[in-house]
Symmetry: C2
Subunit: 432 residues, 2 copies
């Protein structure tokens, strides 16, 4: 163990998460020497506008707008990045690693697209690059996947990893709100950003599932590999039918390691109300994991927010500081030593919930059933209700079927005069 | 990183968990060089009776009944202990650590009583002593508490950490079974051991909560510090009332870090059916954690069984192997750098569920209420039902009160002729 008394760090960004990290370092000041064997000192904070943050720090001299002040400071051994975005952040982190500085980052955008480059650079320089905060905020998930469950062949990682959409779906489910009303409520409460696109269209969840899949399956999965569908088409009516079927609708990030390749996707899904993930409500997140040894496990908590995210950053920071003391930075690095194929969404098997408006007259059900039969789609359950004069609402739950075959049926339905509207198509959790 | 190609380990015990670990090392054979940078070789297995296990290993020569074959073998750098019990296990592990061998153990009995001695010995010898499997089987909890959440001031750890009792309570709750019937069912299914005392009396859960509290609060908590009450007095009727009150009854291990000391106890508890722990059924385990930064988090999974427990052992084994490769064993060790007082159960505040049989005549309720009032016990809720001729069943839920005051009321009730029986006293979860 080396004799270093103080480990100097630089903070890139002093926004919500950055100020949370600064608070935690201060709060833990007396504990850190016991936890690490050294103090942690924030030597520099990179901000865009010094004036804005003068009141936020005890010593304004640590604020800088110049990255050179950090990269050229040999005393700084850890860079904590909480700015977000791709550039200039990526350049900062690559430069930091190449200068032998360790990195903690909460940046899912960067990891989900450039994880390989960053992790390889870290490895070349025997540096740590830790990113617990990039997935599911305060919930410990990266370290459990990489270390605790390392003795498993993990076959499934499935999670509610976006709090905004989970809040919206919870409101739709419990209060019968429609999507727009629930989105407005989420915006008012600060759960949704001014531009909620990345959340409601599933992009944010997709980045997180790409990162988790890469670690769980030891094979690189990037954002581009993820099939993405958001929740904007989900209606109060779909949720009502889901309840009738003993299910809830959640936006799930699903990654499976199958013998024919990796399935990785984000889309709304009906899951049985008895499934542990169904009980995860409001802005909470949870990740469900299946492995050959551990069987089922689930991790639950706050997936966002100043202090929960800072908690994850702080765990990484303490870990790196310990590694510095013990001279073993780079001890755990990129674990993607395989190169598994990614399956196309059309080749993936799912069960489906299909809601459609059809002519309310004899023979129609037989025609629908025929189309399914001809396309290898087997029907598990069917509900028919009269929706308005001459039109019936039909809800079909299918057995497991390859998506392509199911889509072939949809194409045929679209061309049939008895089918007035395909109102909803939602995948259904099938338990394996 | 050193050039070691093979890391030799010894397995103490080849029972359920031991054979699970052997299976996982075999299953992961091709992955381990990527995960660790070396192979893992089981060089020796300590058993009581070699003949019994001849068929269980590829090379019977690795079986030994002599500890000296292991302790004197300088090539063995990790000892995996899955025998259980206090002696001779404790001696083995101390000798192993003093010989510079790292240790993985699943032994909660040992950790909960002699954790300090073992961890200090490990530290003196710069060895790792990891014990993820000792609490909640396959669920990652030790590493999350020690590392991921290290930036938190943790104030609460609360868990369902005994699968046997949770199975029994689930059966009593869902099928209306009484305790003995549910216990018999658990025994038939192999969830309960031939002598189920340690489980149903709460001892097993107490060991686990002592270990978790020590880590979460950075202060040593041993088995003797834990107040323990089992589930043998819980009746189907209590569970029925709990349901009426919107609650379930669970055997909870509770540890709280309060300004006046550590509260640590295992007892049945009414918790609201909406609490995440209430949905943890059958033999599943879960640990709920609260920290100043992370807020609420929960870890869920299988708390026992061959492969889940082996999964936890394997995670520790891989971690130590990496530390050996990087020359940093002993990097994370005893974290009990504080010495906080333990609160006596009589000084702890709780809400209570009290079920009693009283004379069914005017003025009785007033007498009961008077006794409570005189002892600073405030009533939150009351249910009265006629149970048989002349006798009424009274269920009282109290507000938060110091246990001593509540017990004073009970003593007075016991001496009152209008009170026929104190049928049940169960603590109620109060949310902070």
């Amino acid at each position: 163990m080396n004799r270093l008394k103080t480990i100097n760090v630089a903070l890139l960004g002093l926004g919500t998460v950055g100020s949370g990290v600064a608070k935690l370092i201060e709060r833990q000041k007396e504990e850190l020497p016991y936890k690490i064997g050294a103090n942690i000192n924030i030597k520099r904070i990179l901000v865009r506008n010094k004036e804005k943050y003068l009141g936020a720090v005890a010593d304004p001299m640590i604020l800088t707008t110049d990255w050179q002040d950090i990269i050229n400071d040999a005393e700084i051994s850890i860079v904590i990045e909480v700015i977000g975005g791709i550039e200039p952040t990526k350049m900062y982190l690559l430069e930091a690693l190449n200068a032998g500085k360790n990195v903690v980052t909460a940046n899912k955008d960067l990891l989900a697209e450039y994880g390989r480059e960053l992790l390889e650079t870290a490895a070349q320089n025997h540096c740590d690059l830790l990113f617990e905060a990039s997935v599911a905020g305060g919930i410990p998930i990266i370290r459990p996947l990489k270390q605790c469950l390392a003795g498993n062949h993990l076959t499934e990682v499935m999670g509610i990893v976006n709090g905004t959409t989970n809040y919206i779906l919870t409101k739709m489910s419990s209060d019968g709100m429609d999507f727009n009303e629930a989105l407005q409520k989420a915006t008012e409460l600060g759960y949704a950003e001014a531009d909620p696109t990345a959340d409601i269209e599933g992009l944010d969840a997709a980045r997180k599932v790409a990162i988790m899949a890469s670690i769980a399956f030891n094979s690189r999965v990037t954002l581009n590999d993820v099939y993405i569908e958001g929740i904007t088409k989900i209606t109060a009516k779909d949720i009502q039918y889901a309840h009738e079927l003993g299910c809830d609708i959640k936006l799930l990030g699903v990654a499976k390691n199958t013998p024919t390749g990796i399935e990785v996707r984000v889309h709304p899904m009906l899951i049985p109300s008895t499934h542990p993930l169904a009980t995860v409500n409001d802005a909470f997140n949870a990740v469900f994991v299946h492995g050959d040894a551990v069987d089922d496990a689930m991790f639950f908590g706050r997936g966002a927010g100043e202090m929960p995210t800072a908690s994850a950053v702080m765990g990484d920071l303490i870990d790196i500081a310990r590694n510095i003391k013990f001279g073993c930075t780079g001890r755990i690095n990129c674990s993607c030593y395989k190169s598994l194929p990614i399956k196309h969404i059309e080749d993936i098997e799912s069960c489906y919930f299909l809601r459609m408006q059809v002519d309310d007259r004899p023979g129609v059900l037989a025609s629908i059933a025929n189309v399914f039969g001809n396309n290898s789609v087997s029907i598990a359950q069917i509900i028919q209700k009269t929706s308005s004069e001459g039109v019936a609402e039909l809800v079909v739950i299918t057995d497991k079927v390859i998506e392509r075959y199911f889509n072939d049926s949809l194409t045929i339905f679209a061309s049939m005069s008895i089918v007035k509207e395909i109102s909803a198509v939602i995948r259904v959790y099938s338990g394996e």
